[in-house]
């Protein structure tokens, strides 16, 4: 039956994450962006909320079951706090959920318990490539079989926390299909490249990764012989990223709304003017519409329905509105929006990234 209210568990979860966002994340996020690093105690506190283990079944050390809808609700709230910090805390979901949804039993048993420990898991997923012609369904990084091994060659970019990872899940083109391989960080031929210099999410360390004849056993292939349905995994990832976009858009919108109510010009708050008030109204409508699209796509995936079209349409819409909303939030603040002491320019820089953020998290 049609219903868009959170259930009790989702309410408790979002309340907890919201408190974390207000009390911890918002205290440090501006500095973290300037410094390029996030205080360890904030990451620890965020991890201890236990979102990822709540999607992993007890058999593998967790205490729940996967739900893309609940993930969407939770990820939105994390990103409302700060996107870079959210991606640092939740980034390992890109590996965890891929293993959970597409891994063999053996892969689940060996990898999933990692995500249910006290410390942040030391894993990273590598999908995007440093080229204008990036196409997740036609990757330039290749896997060539050689006996019981495959040989991997190519360059990856925006691999979060690759410097700390013990294991990397690297997406490659194998005979025209996108597949993924587990690669140990110390594999010969795998070289950690420079830290990416990005416009936004500067608090999150991301790296290039060079693969020069990296050899791994064929059983390192995610999903074993059958491999993966990459389109499906990408859908889950895009739901996660879009949920974060909604959360970040909301952050910008709420900040601009509150600012417009207290900024006095011509003797009254600028929010008394339709030119400002209507911008805010349209921002609110776009965010609500975007959230509904994220939820619908997530719900369809949870029902086991084919949702590629919905996800693609949703991604385009959300990528567009997150940028528009951030732009309008900045505009509402006028000159102050351009000053780095205020957070709005940070959301503005982060917002554009969503068009290229593939696989930084998964629902």
């Amino acid at each position: 039956m049609l219903d868009f209210r959170l259930d009790e568990e989702q309410k408790m979860l979002t309340d907890t994450i919201h408190r974390f966002a207000e009390e911890r994340v918002r205290k440090v996020f501006r500095h973290a962006d300037e410094d390029g690093k996030i205080p360890a105690d904030v990451l620890k506190a965020g991890w201890e909320i236990g979102v990822l283990p709540s999607f992993i079944p007890e058999d593998f050390g967790g205490f729940g079951a996967p739900s893309a809808v609940t993930a969407a609700v939770a990820y939105e709230e994390f990103a409302y706090g700060d996107l870079a910090i959210a991606l640092n805390i939740l980034g390992s979901s890109a590996v965890a959920m891929a293993v959970l949804r597409a891994g063999t039993e053996a892969q689940k048993e060996s990898h999933l318990p990692l995500f249910c420990e006290e410390k942040l898991p030391r894993v990273a997923a590598a999908i995007t490539e440093p080229t204008i012609l990036y196409d997740p369904f036609d990757l330039k990084t290749r896997a060539t079989p050689e006996g019981d091994e495959v040989v991997l060659n190519g360059v990856k970019s925006v691999v979060p926390l690759a410097d700390q990872a013990d294991t990397l899940l690297i997406y490659v083109n194998e005979g025209g299909q996108t597949q993924a391989y587990f690669v140990p960080a110390d594999a010969p031929g795998l070289k950690l490249g420079d830290r990416d210099k990005l416009m936004g999410i500067r608090a999150l360390p991301t790296f290039k990764l060079h693969l020069d004849n990296v050899r791994v056993p064929v059983e390192n292939r995610l999903g074993g012989d059958a491999g993966i349905n990459f389109g499906l995994l990408l859908n889950y990832s895009r739901v996660a990223m879009a949920a974060m976009a909604v959360g970040m858009a909301r952050a910008g919108y709420e900040y601009a709304r509150d600012y417009a109510k207290q900024r006095i010009q011509f003797g009254e708050p600028i929010a008394h003017r339709q030119s400002i008030a209507f911008m805010l109204a349209e921002m609110a409508i776009d965010i609500d519409g975007a959230r509904m699209m994220v939820w619908e796509a997530a719900w369809k995936l949870d029902q086991g329905q084919e949702a590629t079209q919905e996800v693609t349409v949703m991604k385009h819409f959300v990528d567009d509105i997150v940028m528009t909303v951030a732009d309008r939030a900045l505009q509402t603040l006028g000159g102050y929006g351009y000053i780095r002491e205020y957070p709005v320019e940070l959301w503005f820089r982060n917002a554009r990234g969503f068009v290229t953020f593939d696989g930084l998290a998964s629902a």
Binding site: L2, V73, D288, G289, F317
Partner: protein
């Protein structure tokens, strides 16, 4: 719990309505567009028995349970059913849909604010009879559009006969002729009993079909939804019984702005209904454009990266994003009603967004089909003309944005004009 599932019973019914839409409405679309003031009799006669049956059940429920009927626990799917039927009928033809017999906006007003006795008295006509009848709603005046609280139509009580005497002019009245001249329907007329009292003086009155003193103008000539009956109503010393004043005793005794609030309460249901109609047209335009493009081998690949997409693919994905966001906002405003929650903000959000979305989607559909799209030989251009009204009636996009803005900022009418 977040759930997008539509009940199976409603889905079943939608299949029937889709048949009516494609087999009864669509074949008459072009003809009725070009013969503006002819009635869509095929559609009306097809729908009347079903409308009657649905209303009969509702009236029976009212008679048995009275006010208690509303108190029954669990979400009410009636509004969801209505919204989905409107979407499907508007997919068929938005102009013809507006001629669907039954209470319409007038009936909705009676349901929203009428007493149980009034509901039975006024709504029973939509549940019986060989000839169909219509309800209509008259708020807008030539000089009172978005600012409907400045309406000038008056209602004065004649203490001798205990009747209200209504004088004034109402414009852009959908089904005005069908309800007052062509059937034994009724029109809910909004008028002030005290012009100095502003909103506090505004009440709603039932004027029944064929009441003396009512003049119905010839049909207005419109850009689109030409099958829809749109007229000007003039009221000259129109007398209606005292009990035709809609609402509770409190409303009748002129306390506060309950009368005006009644109009606003009606909008909480009618705005999602307009949004749904908009979305029916949007879906029609979108499907139509995609089908025509597919016929010449132009399709959308949803797995391509941006640098491989054609501009047509990008346009369609943009249209589908607008469509989906607007449709889901409409469902959200409906779900709030179903679960007995306030939906004024959501209703205005969905209406503002859907009106804009259908306007853009239908314009883009004409554009995408090139010279063919502009031709009156196919329906794309008609969808574009029909679409635009949804950006205007039941509150323009701007008025709905104003309502949204006030709500999100916590502002009064004075703070945000």
């Amino acid at each position: 719990m977040i759930d997008f599932e539509i009940p199976a019973k409603i889905k079943q019914e939608l299949i029937m309505v889709e048949m009516v839409a494609s087999q009864v409405m669509r074949p008459r679309s072009r003809y009725l567009d070009e013969h503006e003031h002819e009635r869509p009799t095929d559609f009306i006669n097809t729908m009347w028995p079903a409308v009657k049956e649905q209303n009969r059940r509702q009236i029976e429920g009212l008679k048995q349970n009275g006010a208690a009927a509303k108190e029954k626990s669990g979400p009410s799917t009636a509004i969801l059913r209505l919204i989905l039927l409107i979407e499907q009928m508007s997919w068929g033809d938005a102009g013809q849909y507006l001629c669907v017999p039954g209470g319409g906006l007038g009936g909705a007003a009676v349901e929203a604010v009428g007493t149980p006795e009034q509901k039975i008295r006024f709504l029973s006509r939509f549940a019986e009879g060989d000839e169909p009848s219509w309800g209509a709603m008259a708020i807008t005046e030539p000089d009172a559009g978005s600012d409907n609280s400045s309406m000038r139509t008056t209602a004065v009580l004649d203490p001798e006969t205990n009747e209200w005497i209504i004088n004034g002019e109402k414009i852009f009245i959908t089904s005005g002729s069908l309800s007052l001249k062509e059937s034994n329907g009724f029109c809910v007329v909004w008028a002030t009993v005290d012009p100095k009292a502003g909103r506090g003086g505004i009440k709603s009155f039932i004027v029944e079909g064929h009441t003396p003193g009512v003049t119905v103008s010839p049909g207005l000539e419109k850009l689109g939804i030409r099958a829809s009956d749109t007229v000007i109503l003039t009221f000259e010393d129109v007398r209606v019984p005292y009990d035709n004043l809609l609402g509770s005793a409190e409303v009748r005794e002129q306390k506060g702005t309950e009368g005006f609030a009644g109009a606003m309460k009606t909008f909480d249901a009618s705005r999602p209904a307009v949004a749904a109609s908009a979305m029916g047209i949007a879906r029609a335009a979108l499907e139509f454009a995609k089908e025509k493009l597919a016929e010449v081998g132009v399709t959308v690949d949803y797995t391509k990266p941006a640098h491989k997409m054609t501009s047509v693919e990008r346009d369609i994905i943009m249209m589908e994003g607008l469509y989906k966001s607007a449709w889901l906002l409409t469902l959200k405003s409906v779900a709030a009603m179903m679960h007995g929650e306030g939906n004024r903000l959501e209703a205005s959000m969905s209406k503002a967004h859907a009106g804009m979305a259908v306007t853009k989607i239908s314009q883009k559909a004409v554009e995408l089909l090139g010279p063919l799209g502009y031709s009156r030989e196919i329906l794309a251009e008609k969808f574009m003309r029909d679409a635009k009204i949804n950006d205007i009636y039941e509150g323009t996009r701007q008025i709905n944005l104003l309502i949204v803005a006030r709500a999100i900022l916590g502002y009064s009418r004075k703070e945000l004009k």
